[in-house]
Point group: C2
Chain length 343, copies 2
């Protein structure tokens, strides 16, 4: 790797801070330029906490000797790469901090002093740790941290509201793309039947609330009677169905009348066939689960001669964080399910 001194204009994707010899996007880069000075469309954040990706933290715990070893590993990664991206898992996390400086051409609408969470991954965010992580015990993925991070023109950050617990806001923001995209899809149908697989989970409960607010009949699918009881209590679904979503025929039969929109929110592999079979011709399946297999979805629909539209759940929809927080405020049932998970 040759270190470049880049003197050109900024690129909204952050390309100007990539130090690799080959031109790659910041997420794919080996190393980012962490200079403090901002390009005109950038924003600098004073970091207060890193939330490491859970899979990344577990990998670090397994391969390093005790909490001090884990702390050392995180410091080494960030020093070497200019970003927190675990080389083994490829994943990062998010951060919380306060806006320190806003470039004159930044399109993000942030102001100095705003307390924000970044909704783009740490894997593409230039980061400098200045306190040696002295305040972190190395035992949890919540990492108190003093330092700074840089947002690009096309980054996303959301203000943390004053009226909600910070951990609650962050948990909502983590999955905020799901209800926003669900709402958009639901609104393209007339009084649709919407089936949410994993309806008692975080993205699932928010998606049920979004669908109901948009006038849909809502069906929540959960794997156990215990989750069914919780979801009934939350009052977000007109019907609550217990089924193993990995069994296509069982799911189809449990759902009964086929859905106009099926939203897959459970992070287990093998739910593609059931979601497709539970959806009516002309309907839409939205896959939010990162366990979704592209080929299983494509070949599954073809093999079933299923005329359904299948969407890759995009985690970004304009206004998604504010919308998800508004759902949390409006639906006691969503709040209850989230608080239970945070407890």
């Amino acid at each position: 790797m040759r270190v470049r001194t880049y003197v050109g204009p900024s690129d909204p994707t952050g390309l100007h801070r990539v130090l690799d010899e080959r031109v790659v996007l910041p997420q794919a880069a080996e190393r980012l330029d962490t200079r403090r000075e901002l390009w005109p469309d950038e924003v600098r954040i004073r970091v207060e906490r890193l939330n490491l990706d859970a899979a990344s933290f577990r990998q670090l715990e397994r391969t390093h000797d005790g909490p001090d070893g884990v702390r050392r590993a995180v410091l080494d990664i960030v020093a070497a790469r200019g970003k927190m991206q675990n080389p083994e898992t490829g994943s990062g996390g998010m951060l919380v901090g306060t806006v320190e400086e806003v470039g004159p051409d930044s399109p993000l609408g942030l102001e100095v002093g705003d307390r924000v969470a970044t909704l783009v991954s740490l894997t593409l965010t230039p980061l400098v740790i200045e306190d040696g992580l002295a305040g972190w015990d190395g035992r949890s993925e919540q990492v108190p941290c003093d330092g700074y991070a840089v947002l690009f023109g096309r980054s996303i950050a959301a203000r943390i509201p004053d009226d909600l617990r910070a951990d609650l806001s962050l948990a909502v923001m983590d999955v905020c793309g799901a209800p926003a995209l669900t709402r958009r899809v639901v609104e393209s149908y007339d009084a649709p039947r919407v089936v949410v697989i994993g309806g008692a989970g975080k993205s699932g409960s928010l998606s049920l609330a979004a669908a109901r607010d948009a006038g849909a009949t809502t069906v929540g699918v959960v794997p156990t009677e215990a989750e069914a009881a919780l979801l009934r209590e939350a009052d977000l679904a007109d019907e609550v169905v217990v089924s193993d979503a990995r069994d296509p025929i069982a799911l189809r039969d449990a759902v009964g009348k086929a859905a106009d929109v099926t939203v897959v929110c459970v992070d287990v592999p093998g739910c593609e066939g059931g979601a497709i079979l539970s959806t009516a011709p002309g309907g839409t399946v939205v896959f939010f689960s990162m366990a979704t297999s592209f080929s299983a979805a494509a070949l599954g629909a073809e093999g079933l001669a299923a005329d359904v539209t299948m969407l890759v759940g995009n985690g970004y929809v304009p206004g998604h964080a504010a919308y998800a927080l508004s759902l949390l405020r409006a639906h006691q049932g969503v709040r209850d399910l989230f608080l239970r998970r945070l407890a």
Copy 2:
């Protein structure tokens, strides 16, 4: 595995012919029931030729001793599983034959004597080989074969037209989902700019023709100057662009004005970021490439704050085979590109 004797009614997915103890769809089954007698919604085909999936055939060639070993392997697989599904690659292929019997409740619209190609995979099609593959030299994925196969209520088969070479028709049918879905997406925009990555390929050239017929401005992206010359000659694209689609920034810059619809038709990994970056906010990316990574698409769009709709390319759209054949007839340029590939 316990062999069941299923006596219930048929299921349009073919579930009634699955012999596995666990209830799975025919594609996931270890073994299918190949009885000659039809359930009322089924169709039996007299097989004339199998077209093995290319990846499957190469795997068989690598691991078996000579053409006789390959032939033996195919016979063993079909005898053991009741379908041609390579246990290593998981893939099958398609078949050509003549309709031998049509159940009274079949919804497929076929008649005895119709010469058809099946557009569902061999991985889910009950198949019996009756000639020991005596007419096959074991050296190509084109397998002359006498035997029978069964189609379910939800299967798809297309009549092979009399006015076209059979190999040409089959090559078109193999990718016929792409132009049909492209057309549907293009028609949801007003005079859109449509970028087809891999525009000189089979699904790519058909997608360009579909987009042009729907009133789009068409841009074809190809990897080399040689392909660019072929695509210019075919006169399907208003602009022809040479770029490596795996380099997101290069692709974005080569495409110039962002697309309303981007169609990914190249079977190489790593094209997700470039496709997303080349698409305007509010636009749609259709992924037909089986090399697409679900997580790369989902995380890529989120990391770029890209408000684009991303579709999993569904190989089934009603009427897709007839539509693709009509494009081939209407566009000399599409015919030229296909015939060149078959030569």
